[in-house]
């Protein structure tokens, strides 16, 4: 057992997900089965090996700093679950 119920609850919090009692049980079992499989990587000697985050020789791409048309406000807000006075509306963020 690598990942405990407590770990699963903590990861759920970090992931901004709610887990019911049954979900914690189920995910703990399933994630352990997957992590057991992933353990195969410990057989590989990676000392001195550079990580590959990206296969392309990517570099920052800059475009000319010119104003271009952007989405009009109505369209940008068209999918908002809640909006008010041309802004996205969210529940309160600050205490008090």
């Amino acid at each position: 057992m690598k990942i405990t119920r407590k770990d699963v609850e903590q990861v759920a919090l970090l992931s901004r997900l709610e887990l019911g009692e049954n979900d914690v049980e189920k995910f703990t079992g399933q994630l352990n089965a997957i992590l057991d499989y992933i353990d195969v990587l410990n057989k590989v000697d990676t000392s001195g090996v550079e990580p590959t985050a990206h296969v392309l020789p990517v570099k920052n791409v800059m475009r000319a700093d010119e104003a271009r048309p952007s989405l009009p406000r109505e369209l940008a807000l068209a999918n908002a679950p809640e909006q008010e006075d041309g802004y996205f509306k969210v529940p309160k963020i600050l205490e008090g």
Binding site: I3, D7, V8, V11, A12, L14, S15, R16, L17, E18, F27, Q30, L31, A33, I34, Y37, I38, D39, V40, L41, N42, K43, V44, T46, V49, E50, P51, T52, A53, H54, V55, L56, V58, N60, V61, R63, L71, L75, A76, A78, N79, A80, P81, E82, F88, V90, P91, K92, I93
Partner: protein
């Protein structure tokens, strides 16, 4: 033959000769959809009005005597994780069930510029996470060759639509095999281009260092045509390759003389269906008979690819899917404060597999586990890529199976995530290395198609298309029709 069963290149010739109109072709495809969609369920959204308007525009161009692009007036489908302005784009998720994008993806824009016709948005595993299309939060798609079997995934709707003749062509996206495996299961052609060859602007991201859009078609010629229509540099995707797009149709020559093909023996994993193995070896014999040189190559890190993939893909997914927070778009749940609202929105909006992958990825990236999991996976990725670099020093293409078996039954693996992941063992290494690979039918077992995988060097699409075309033309697999709906 019925219009809806023909290929894009056959229909293009008829359109150019004014033997048929784009409106007639499009109407025939919708008639076909009406006949068989109840059994297949390939589409989340059908775009009849848009399609008929696009067909009319193509017909007007033809009537004016203007030259038309190869896909002009030809109906196809987009996987429902690609934005089409004003058309619902759901990713088969409840969290985006009502999302209507205010902009076009680059692929949608390019297809529109080519006067192609879009008949609908195809079903997928939610957020492209799955290998069977059973993770769609709306409904599963069925395999046109056997409706008790899955069509594969995640681009299962796109592959099933083409196989069932509900679309002439389709686009899928491939993060770990999501174009190639459903193409194989449905007996059609699917190509994952080189990472960066096709712009992903407007594709809902799953794992950004792996995702790539590509064609699903009835034959290799159509595959080349659709790839040509969507490939190219795009300033709106920072990972887009700035290289000229060749004329892929010139690569389609029906011989394999001088082509060096390699077989990575590690791809024949334990548990592989002997019928699949036999079909792949038979395909190699055929290519040899057509003049190809053959050798076995060793890719010793293949066995680590699946574990590497499931760490990298889920880590990237956990980050990409953080944007679904109930604020700017998508489903919002009730909550008194902002964190409660985030949690409710995401818990109600995401299905189980998506939650599982977000959790795994978050764990792999979390403090204390980052080095052991994520960083370790990135290092093994380097070794996997070096295996390919070495192999391509000796051969031009690699030939392998697409999946260990033919399409499995609906429900068979749905409760065992790891068994489902093992379906991807032959396809994920290619994404980790960013290479192009094509899937095409190379036989049947128990009435279900078997897929052959041909893998190329970076930007080696022409070479794999040539090998695939040579093989296809020596066989008749691509002409067989799914028995479905001949009612």
């Amino acid at each position: 033959m019925e219009l809806y069963k023909q290929t894009a290149h056959e229909l293009h010739a008829k359109l150019a000769a004014k033997e048929v109109s784009a409106a007639e072709i499009t109407a025939a495809v919708f008639d076909r959809i009406d006949t068989v969609e109840g059994k297949v369920r390939a589409y989340i959204t059908q775009t009849r009005d848009l399609a008929m308007a696009q067909a009319k525009a193509a017909d007007e161009k033809i009537a004016r005597g203007e030259a038309i692009a190869p896909l002009a007036g030809i109906p196809g489908a987009l996987k429902d994780n690609m934005c089409v302005k004003g058309v619902k784009t759901t990713c088969a998720s409840q969290i985006l069930a009502n999302f209507v994008p205010p902009y076009d993806s680059t692929v949608a824009e390019k297809l529109a510029a080519a006067d192609a016709v879009v008949v609908g948005k195809a079903n997928l595993d939610e957020f492209a996470m799955g290998s069977s299309c059973e993770n769609s939060s709306f409904f599963p798609t069925r395999n046109p060759w056997d409706t008790a079997a899955v069509p594969g995934g995640s681009s299962g709707g796109s592959a099933a639509a083409v196989a069932a003749a509900e679309a002439v062509w389709a686009l899928g996206s491939d993060t770990g095999g999501s174009i190639r495996q459903p193409a194989a299961y449905c007996g059609v052609v699917g190509l994952k281009p080189t990472y960066g060859r096709v712009s992903r602007y407007g594709l809902v991201a799953y794992a950004s260092s792996l995702d790539q859009i590509g064609p699903i078609t009835r034959d290799v010629t159509d595959c080349a045509l659709v790839l040509a229509a969507i490939a190219g540099h795009d300033g709106r995707d920072s990972t887009s390759i700035d290289a000229p797009v060749p004329d892929y149709s010139k690569a389609l020559v029906p011989d394999a003389r001088g082509l060096k093909i390699g077989l990575p023996k590690e791809y024949f994993v334990a548990g592989m269906d002997p019928a699949v193995e036999k079909a792949v070896y038979a395909a190699i014999d055929q290519l040899k008979a057509m003049g190809a040189e053959y050798k076995e190559v060793s890719m010793p890190h293949t066995e680590y690819a699946l574990a590497t993939y499931y760490l990298i893909a889920t880590a990237e997914a956990s980050s990409n899917l953080a944007r679904f927070d109930g604020v700017g778009f998508g489903h919002r749940g009730e909550g008194n404060d902002i964190v409660a609202m985030y949690k409710r929105s995401r818990t109600e909006g995401f299905g189980e597999e998506v939650r599982r992958r977000i959790m795994l990825g978050t764990y792999a990236l979390s403090s204390g586990y980052y080095d052991a999991y994520y960083l370790k996976a990135l290092k093994v990725r380097t070794l996997i890529k070096q295996d390919f670099d070495r192999a391509f020093g000796e051969v031009d293409v690699l030939v392998a199976p697409i999946a260990p078996t033919t399409a499995f039954k609906v429900g068979e693996k749905v409760d065992d995530p790891l068994a489902m992941y093992l379906q991807d063992v032959c396809t994920v290494p290619i994404n980790l290395a960013g290479l192009p690979a094509i899937s095409l039918p190379c036989g049947f077992a128990g009435g279900l198609p078997i897929g052959l995988q041909i893998i190329g060097r970076p930007l080696g699409e022409e070479t794999i298309l040539r090998a695939a075309y040579a093989f296809e033309q020596a066989n008749d697999y691509h002409r067989r029709q799914a028995p479905l709906g001949e009612v």
